[in-house]
Symmetry: C2
Subunit: 332 residues, 2 copies
DNA sequence: CTGTTAGCGCGTTCAA
DNA sequence: TTGAACGCGCTAACAG
């Protein structure tokens, strides 16, 4: 920057101002500086700027997995909403593991992000403490924690699953099961299982028909295996709610292979409204959430908090509940 | 850090040393410092450390899309291989757009990453120049550019598609078509189209049977639409090579809906060995590449270059060709 | 509109 | 094994 300044015949401060859009610099001076910048191929060093200005321009975002279009849509939403304000997303994935999340929280915090977006309301005690005392706005997404750290943008996975079971009941299904992963890791999956449980209990249906299979992310393959176990264990089952569309798809394919009509022999529903749920045959009944909007809202909330608080968190935390929608298709 | 030092009765330099694993500090001093660190909830500021040490500990990685399990597997591979060396991945996605890639390259470079991994060999002239003159190791992946910027870890998409067409020929198919996106954006998709073209020409088959449909990422929906156009335009077609498994799946589902037997009426192959290709029915013939290994290798290469060169790029560039494999399944 | 001074929070380098 | 001085490259704050 000193070299640019020298060649343009100004001080480094003027170069610094010319390089920010809001810098108060005369048009001609700025143009002269930009020409030199271009000529020299100079690239501003933001890490030095961050040290000086105490703003890194980073928003850390933690999701369970990037190989899941629900979460990658949320990341897109976050990115789109913050990048227009000049912020850069620092992405991490936890593999559905809150221990790994804790390590990532620490790693992210040492980069001094201006704000942080995490998935879900369940964290290790240490992670909670670090987030709460980091002095930056925090947004928890994809969940509705009863004791939020700060801001929340999410929905109740339990309520969504419950609504789905009720819809199946209305369609006449009476022996409804749930297929999910081992529940101590994927808390959103576990919440859906709880919602299923509550629904069958309040409807007076046989309860506890839950197949847990493998650790998350539950795959198509696992859905296929689970549906077989399910039918073996409770042969009278007439409907299965799967923790995600991917496992639902795997289950449906396995049913085809075995000549079990879907939904004739057994109805199968998913969760997430992945592309496959409306492209496969039969099209899959599911619960849709606007994943991108979750991200966009989370980005907006964190931006607002960064702008208003600048460390003091004065503006009060937001709690935004996004809607979900049961979408009935051919598989039920 | 000053406060930690004061409380531990040492200088900040000793705290700094205690916080790196390789710092030469006595056991008791270190333990005393770590206790204070824990008590205070102190988190090291890496951005300040980066300024001082001239190493940010970032590896920038640019992929076309995170909502594609091929690329997110590559990102996993990169992350796993560099994080054990204490480096942090700074991820960006280009949406298959080299103009956006150029903007991202600039943005990443202003964070002063220690190395950079990009997808593909095609970039804007400016992006190439920035990457070449950044003074950091660069790895191009998922492609085999004829004029690489620096290091390469990839394979020939054209050769892979060509091999697939040859395999279809051996199975007896003679009127083979290609289904892809509009080709000026997804260069790997375009390369696959070129490989198809070369194969049908050298086999003396009717050539130029290419349906381009929509801009990438090509979706299941687009595959469904494309297959209809294809059959309308060339009713005698007996096989279709799709640019990815997702479009192949969409095409197969559409064939089912219309009562066109796959592979009886038309054989359909994909690319990428996505989970859906072996979970759907019929299982989809495809080309498999070890996406995670591409990422792991790219990470290894960039690490080696960071270690050996420290800016001088003295160690020579690597060019690693990863294998691909045609996997024949039920859809052909 | 522009320049000067000071310092962000660390690690490097040297000396003890 | 530890500490002191210094500076990384930039921007805040103030003065002009």
């Amino acid at each position: 920057m000193a070299e640019v300044a020298a060649r343009a015949g100004v001080s480094t401060m003027t170069v610094s101002r010319a390089l920010k859009s809001d810098g108060l610099v005369s048009q001609e001076t700025r143009q002269r500086i930009l020409d030199v910048v271009d000529e020299l191929g100079y690239v501003l060093d933001l890490s030095a700027g961050a040290l000086s200005s105490k703003r890194t321009g980073f928003v850390a975002a933690l999701v369970p997995s990037i190989n899941n279009s629900n979460f990658s849509d949320t990341v897109r939403g976050i990115t789109e909403s913050v990048e227009v304000h000049g912020l850069q997303v620092l992405l991490g994935y936890t593999d559905y593991d809150i221990e790994k999340e804790e390590r990532l929280v620490r790693a992210m915090l040492s980069r001094r992000p201006d704000g942080m977006i995490v998935t879900g309301g369940r964290h290790t005690e240490k992670a909670r403490r670090m987030l709460a005392s980091a002095g930056i706005p925090v947004v928890e997404t994809w969940d509705l924690p009863s004791e939020p750290i700060d801001n929340v943008v999410g929905f109740s996975n339990a309520e969504a699953a419950r609504a789905l079971v009720h819809r199946l009941y209305e369609k006449g299904y009476r022996r409804i099961a749930f297929v999910g992963g081992t529940t101590n890791r994927d808390t959103r999956g576990a919440d859906r299982g709880c919602g299923y449980q509550r629904a069958v209990e309040e409807l007076g249906l046989p309860a506890g028909r839950t197949i847990s299979f493998g650790k998350p992310p539950i795959s198509m393959e696992q859905g296929a295996q689970a549906i077989v176990h399910l039918v073996e264990r409770w042969p009278d089952v007439d409907a299965a709610v799967c923790v995600s569309d991917l496992s639902a798809f795997g289950a449906i394919m396995e049913c085809h292979r075995r000549g079990w009509a879907v939904p004739g022999r057994i109805a199968i529903a998913g969760f997430g409204d992945f592309e496959i749920s409306h492209c496969s045959w039969p099209r899959i009944t599911t619960v849709a959430v606007d994943c991108r909007a979750i991200g966009a809202e989370a980005g907006r909330v964190v931006l607002r908090a960064i702008e208003s608080a600048r460390g003091a968190r004065s503006s009060g935390s937001e709690r935004i509940v996004v809607p979900f929608q049961v979408i009935e298709r051919d598989s039920t």
